[in-house]
């Protein structure tokens, strides 16, 4: 019985940790997408500036 209870607890703990990892991965993926987009936009803006100067 104890062993069964223990394994339920540990299954719950593993599930909780899995959620934390998924949450973190999802947040990181979003941030990296935003960073890429922003770098692309900055690059473009710099290109426009150069064109104007020329």
């Amino acid at each position: 019985e104890d062993a069964a209870e223990e394994s339920t607890v540990s299954a719950e703990l593993i599930a909780a940790r899995r959620r934390l990892i998924d949450e973190w991965n999802a947040w990181r993926a979003k941030v990296k997408r935003d960073l890429r987009e922003e770098k692309g936009r900055r690059h473009q803006e710099q290109g426009h500036k150069k064109e104007k100067v020329e």
Binding site: R17, I21, A29, V31, K32, L35, E38
Partner: protein, 333 residues
């Protein structure tokens, strides 16, 4: 592998920092000097002397061309990393508590202390990277955070935002040009914020506090992502690359604790799991509180600077990289 002990400072360390490549480690101290060391063998490259007071802070730019230092002598100095020559000096009315380069090395943010004679100020300087000796004495912007004193600052998500840490436990984001407070979190910590270090992509950062905790925050919203609660006041916190850990350092001064003898030489760097918020290990060594921690940019070693005047460079052994204390549950990065 045994840690390398860097001996050369005569008083406590205030900040240690690697350059972008990680071949050099810089250390600032209350002995008024900054040293540069080869990080792989601990040999000293040189000393930057010229300050007449505790050097509170330093930073080195992404090209390892310029070093900037801030001191209790009210000066901020720009140095040529290779020659050790002081290129330019800015003078203020109060001590310089924190300096930091922007990612592209074009800007420096500088925090000066609040005293009766002067308000605490955050200044941003545009750096002439072509001719280091030809600098503008005037900042491109200057602002005075109201309320709690700012003691820490760094460029955040991009050059347009500056993240600050305050004596009250507050953290905030200011607009670099206008000085407008964009975001604020008054009670990020319950006591003074002691360190602020960003992740490599600057999207999140870690703060340590005298309130015995460290926290991970979103660089754009200041939202608290993670909290690491210890049982000792913290002076420094650093985010490790490669492995999902954060490194915390601090410790009560011997004179402030009653059970000192048992703790001699046992001031520890604590390793916490970044995602699960659980302590996973400790490395002891210093004979006094740990004032500053930096992780090598390749994530294979780290350095700590102590109240004891020593810098210790630790190289992780294979078990550090192999260990999976939580099984195969690993974040992507």
């Amino acid at each position: 592998m045994r840690p390398i002990l860097l001996q050369g400072h005569e008083r406590s360390l205030t900040q240690v920092k690697y350059n972008a490549e990680g071949d050099l480690l810089f250390s600032a101290s209350k002995d008024d000097t900054v040293n540069a060391w080869y990080s792989y063998n601990g040999e000293r490259l040189g000393t930057y002397s010229g300050h007449n007071g505790t050097v509170w802070t330093l930073d080195v730019d992404y090209q390892t061309k310029f070093l900037v230092t801030g001191s209790a002598d009210n000066l901020m100095k720009l140095w040529d990393v290779q020659t050790g020559q002081c290129l330019y000096t800015w003078e203020f009315l109060t001590a310089v508590k924190r300096v930091a380069f922007s990612e592209d090395g074009e800007l420096i943010v500088c925090v000066t202390e609040q005293r009766a004679i002067a308000q605490g100020a955050i200044r941003v300087f545009k750096i002439n990277r072509e001719n280091g000796q030809d600098q503008d004495p005037e900042p491109i912007s200057m602002f005075h955070p109201i309320g709690s004193k700012a003691t820490l600052a760094a460029f955040g998500w991009d050059n347009n935002s500056i993240i600050t840490g305050h004596e009250s436990g507050k953290i905030a984001i200011f607009d670099t040009k206008t000085g407008e407070e964009i975001q604020t979190h008054e009670k990020a910590h319950h006591d003074s914020v002691t360190d602020l270090q960003l992740s490599p992509d600057r999207s999140y950062f870690i703060t340590s506090s005298k309130d015995k905790s460290a926290k991970l925050h979103d660089s754009r919203t200041l939202a608290v992502l993670k909290t690491y609660t210890t049982e000792t006041p913290l002076n420094s916190a650093s985010i490790a690359p490669i492995r999902p850990y954060v490194l915390l350092g601090g410790g009560q001064d011997a004179m402030n604790v009653t059970t000192t003898s048992a703790r001699q030489g046992k001031f520890e760097t604590r390793f916490w799991h970044k995602i699960f918020e659980e302590e996973v290990g400790r490395v002891r060594g210093h004979f006094g509180p740990i004032n500053t921690i930096a992780v090598h940019p390749d994530g294979r070693s780290y350095s700590s600077g102590g109240e004891d005047g020593f810098v210790r460079v630790h190289f992780f052994d294979e078990s550090y990289f192999r260990a999976r204390p939580y099984g195969e549950l690993e974040p992507d990065d």
